[in-house]
Structures are given as C-alpha cells and as structure tokens.
C-alpha cells in the first residue's frame, strides 16, 4: 500500500462521488472503510466532520476533495488543518458554483496583506 502511493478521498454529493469513483479513486480497505462519503440531505454535520477527521488521521490519503458547500459546514475543521499532507481541495458542486473568496487556502494566502503582517 505504502509503495503504491496515496489515495484520493472525496466528501461530496452523489454526482461528485460517482464521477470521481468512475475516475478510479474508490477503495474499500480491509476493514471495509471507504475513502469517500456520499453526503445526502439527511447526512448530519457531525458525521461529515467525523469522516473528515478520520481521513486526516489516515496516513494512506494524500488529497481530500470536498464540495465547497460541505466545506462551509465544517469550515472550522478545515481551517484548523495546517499540514500539507493530506492536501484539502475545495471543488464546486452542481448546485453551488466555486467561490474563491470562501476557499480556505486562498483566504490564508490573502491574509498576508492584512495589517498584522506589517506590524
């Protein structure tokens, strides 16, 4: 597993997950834990956050793709993740187009022009 490289995980709506699984990123490990989470209307924020944290804790995941509207629900958890691996990438969803001003990474990059940096 380690020699093969890392996995790409997805947290997203049904179409996003289906698309990426078609692309061949899906995996069910020995404990039958998937590397994706299909978020439906009745999926709780706690469940999303727990899955996100479990993906962060797994050392076989290199990139986590997450729909931006779902990322908004667990923004605090995403902002708290400062390590470079796994990288978190916010992607658009069918109903919600990508908004760069909400992206954690870009907001962090913009932060360099804040008053604090010039003190």
């Amino acid at each position: 597993m380690a020699g093969r490289g890392k996995l790409i995980a997805v947290i997203g709506d049904e179409d996003t997950c289906t698309g990426f699984l078609l692309g061949g990123i899906g995996e069910l490990n020995k404990n039958r834990k998937p590397n994706f989470l299909v978020v439906e209307k009745d999926t709780s924020i706690t469940e999303i956050e727990e899955t996100f944290r479990s993906f962060l804790a797994r050392n076989d995941i290199g990139i986590i793709l997450i729909n931006q509207f779902i990322a908004e629900m667990i923004r605090h958890a995403i902002d708290a993740h400062l390590q470079s691996i796994p990288a978190v990438l916010e992607i658009p969803s069918k109903e919600h187009p990508y908004d760069a001003s909400k992206d954690s990474i870009l907001r962090r990059a913009k932060g360099m022009f804040s008053a604090e940096d010039f003190r």
Partner: protein
Amino acid sequence: MRVSESEESSRLLDEKLLRFMEQLELLEEKRAALNALIEQGWFSMSKARYSMGNKQVSALQYASEMEPLVCVHARTLDNGVVDFHTERVKQTCSNETGKDAKSIEDIGPKEEGVRRRVKSKKDISQNDASKEETSESAPEVKPQRKSDQIPQQEPLKWFGILVPQSLKQAQSSFKQVIELSAEIAALQSSVLNTRQELKHSMKDKQILQEKASAAQLDKEAD
C-alpha cells in the same frame, strides 16, 4: 552598507511577491480548467442518465469491492513544498482483460443451465444421448464459475455491461479532473510556502529598517 542591505532585501521581497502573484494566477487558471472539466463530467453523466433511466448511475450501484485505479505520490521538496503527482495503476489493465474473457465465458454456461431445465420439463421421454451431452457440459461449467470470484475493477461496469458513450466521456473528464486536482494541490502547497517566505522577508526588512533609523538617530544626536 546599510542602504545596500536594505536594497537587497527589498529586491528579494519584490521577487518573492512576483513569484507569489504568478503562482496565484496559475492557480486561478487551473481552478477554472478544473471547474470546467467537472461541469463537463456532470453534463455527460446527466446525458447517460437520460438514456439509461433516471434511477441509473447512482450510489446504490457502487461495487461492494473496490480497488483504487489511481494513486497519488506526495514528495516533499527541500524548500518544504509538497509535490503531488498521480499515477494510474497499470496492473489492472491486464486483469480487466482477463475478467472480460471470464465474464463472456460465464454467459454461455448460464444459458445452457436454463435450457436444460426447460428440456427436462417438456421432453421427459427424450433420448439418453442428449441427456448425456448436457451432463457432460455441466462439470465444465463449475470450475469456471468458481474462478470468477475476483471483484470487477472497471468502475464503468458497475452501471451496466453496455454503458452509453456519454458515461465513458464522463469517466474521461473525471480522470482529467483527478490529474488536475493533484497539480492544484501541489500549487496550493507552493502558494502557502511562498506566502510564508514573504512574511519572513517582510519581518527581516522591518528589522533592517528599524536598525537603520536607529543608527541615523544616533548620528543626528552626535
């Protein structure tokens, strides 16, 4: 001496700022490409659903066994930037062809089994020769079925054997999205790294400026 030092630090700061802006521009470009590709993928998927049926291509059809066909290699460079690049697992190609052959072989024996049952009901007084023929073919079927236990790896086949072309187009779009997302992840890492460098350079410059102004004040006092 002090002036040249501050000039040098300003030049470095400018260089880093330019690099930072270039990286941001590239990130924006790649983001736009990624968003367009994802949209294309969804559009193709919707087209496939239109021809296959509304309930098709859903999460309920995912396979119970999955093996990743693509993996990402993360390499930390000397300056702390993490470089991501994707790699398709090549072994599966040969496995897939093997499984294709098995699945094709599997169709024949299944049909034969059904045909045999129909014959036994209708033609009870059929001659023994034909019965022997069917009983001879039966043992050949069993080992083939036993060997076909490995899960299917081609995700397209979860949704049917003959899937529409649009679903294949959706798959190719998402394959490109996966590659692009690895590039974006690497770029995000370098953007954050450059930002950190800029912050340090700014602080260094401030310290230099403070020292210079303090020295000037001392001179004036003398």
